[in-house]
């Protein structure tokens, strides 16, 4: 991994550790309302200022980070699992199975992502799980396509032929010989996709379709304080900066993983 990738990983870890340990910090009170101290500019007491209910913005950002990162990472893991099943079957069996599975994947890919995610977020009661479902419903298809491509290029390899000749079962070939070879690709694609998932989560919670109050999320912090853009810009600037920084770091990490494994995946 190159230097940029390492730096990005370090920042991601820093954000993650601070977010996930926030509940153990005595100064971290995302929910404590103090109506005497509303819309305060950043100060020593409140490094990022306070919001319209006098709540500490730094605490809320850290708690929001927990939500964002958990959703993006679990959505990526779930998409990978579904994508692996579809991609491996499609690539290995070929023929009608391939045609059918990939037609389905193409069908999903031809939906405008956010529109479908919005539709799904409205179908289920809004919340963390709904956001994950909405992201995975679209996300698995691109994993499936890329993994299929990888399998197609692998399955003609000599060692697969050898495994077949030695009488390996289909399940064993897929599980022990093809799947491990897909891991680098999966890692790279995950790195590249998580950044986008962070943005989708933020967009949905900005539209009010994400995790519900009182749970703070970066997107909802921005939409709640849009109206105070001129009088208290820090309430909007700080959470947006965190979304951008986190997404950027994941994108940089994905790029550097891609270069590290010498893969040609566009995105």
């Amino acid at each position: 991994m190159n230097r940029t990738g390492k730096a990005a990983l370090l920042i991601i870890l820093l954000i993650a550790v601070m977010s996930f340990t926030a509940s153990f910090m005595p100064w971290c009170n995302p929910g404590s309302i103090n109506l005497d101290r509303i819309k305060e500019a950043p100060s020593f007491d409140h490094p990022l200022g306070t919001d319209t209910k006098g709540r500490d913005i730094l605490s809320r950002i850290l708690y929001g980070g927990r939500v964002s990162i958990s959703i993006a990472v679990s959505a990526a893991l779930l998409s990978t699992m579904i994508g692996l099943v579809f991609g491996l079957c499609s690539g290995y069996f070929g023929g009608k199975v391939d045609a059918l599975l990939m037609a389905f994947a193409d069908l999903v890919l031809s939906f405008p992502t956010l529109l479908l995610a919005i539709a799904i977020s409205v179908l289920f009661p809004p919340g963390i799980y709904t956001v994950v479902i909405a992201i995975v419903a679209v996300g698995w298809a691109s994993f499936a396509r890329i993994i299929r491509g990888q399998v197609l290029s692998l399955k003609e390899a000599n060692y697969i032929e050898a495994a077949k000749a030695m009488g390996c079962s289909t399940g064993r070939i897929i599980h022990r010989h093809l799947m491990p070879q897909c891991i680098p690709v999966v890692l790279v694609v995950m790195g590249m996709k998580i950044g986008g998932y962070i943005l989708v989560e933020a967009s949905l919670s900005f539209l009010g379709l994400g995790a519900q109050p009182p749970m703070p999320t970066w997107g909802s912090m921005i939409s709640a304080h849009r109206a105070y853009l001129t009088s208290a810009p820090w309430m909007v600037v700080a959470p947006g900066f965190m979304i951008a920084l986190t997404a950027l770091c994941f994108n940089l990490l994905g790029d550097s993983l891609r270069d590290r494994y010498g893969l040609k995946i566009k995105g």
Partner: protein, 302 residues
Amino acid sequence: MLLLIPLLFGITLLTFSLAKALPGDPVLSMVGERAQPEVIEKIRKEIGADKNIVEQYYGYLALLLRGEFGRSYYTNREVLHDILLKFPNTLKLALAAMLIAVPLGTAFGFISAYRKDTVTDRVISALSITGLSVPVFWSGLLLMLFFSLELRMFPPSGSGDLRFLVLPALTLSLPALGALARITRTTVLEVLDMPFIKTARAMGIREVRIQAGHVLKNALIPIVTVIGLDFGSYLNGAVLTETIFGWDGIGRFIMEGIIKRDYPVIMGCVIIGTFVFVAINMVVDMLYNSLDPRVRFGEQDR
């Protein structure tokens, strides 16, 4: 081409079941909780909410085939009429964003590729990945804060003449610009690395001809694809950008529909949106085919 029919059938089924499963009762939210039962019953009959689900879906499909997308539960206006009224606005916004993103994005990509591993390349690459990572609803608000509220150069929201269009178009173009610059850079570098470029140089063909005839022509293929496929991201981005800037297009329309649980509006917008998206993808496919005879349908991997 054949994919279009099952796709549209799937979409109508999906939008219909999605809308049916939505929490909340549209009749109740239309007349209010305290309305008299007779009134509720009357409206339920009027909008056909008393029939069973299958009948409702058939009724819906039959209407769609006649070009009727139903009426909004709230304004009682025809959904298709409103969509057609608002669609040009979204199109205007998307085209304006494209006008910014396409020339700048490809130019940055080419510069970056020709100046590979220099400071210029690094700066452009860093900017384009940042463009991809910044959420549009935040960059939009920052642009609004700076250009309309501080400098008072552009109106902060509303739709109308060119001055209203600048900020939303700029906001919407940023992620596309980043994506395009990145893809152009990779593509141009790939083409420059091809053996036929070396051959052309060895044959003593003038550099200008190599660049215009070989590099540009080969690099153009994936770039056109990305430009076309990006139209989907414009539709996505339009929901957010239009909501922020109060631009009177499809994006804001669907958002209002979702908030009010106005099923015909949501379904109409999703169906039209997907139709446009798929139609554009097909045009891109055809363009792709005519630009590059090597490509056959169904063999490309995304």
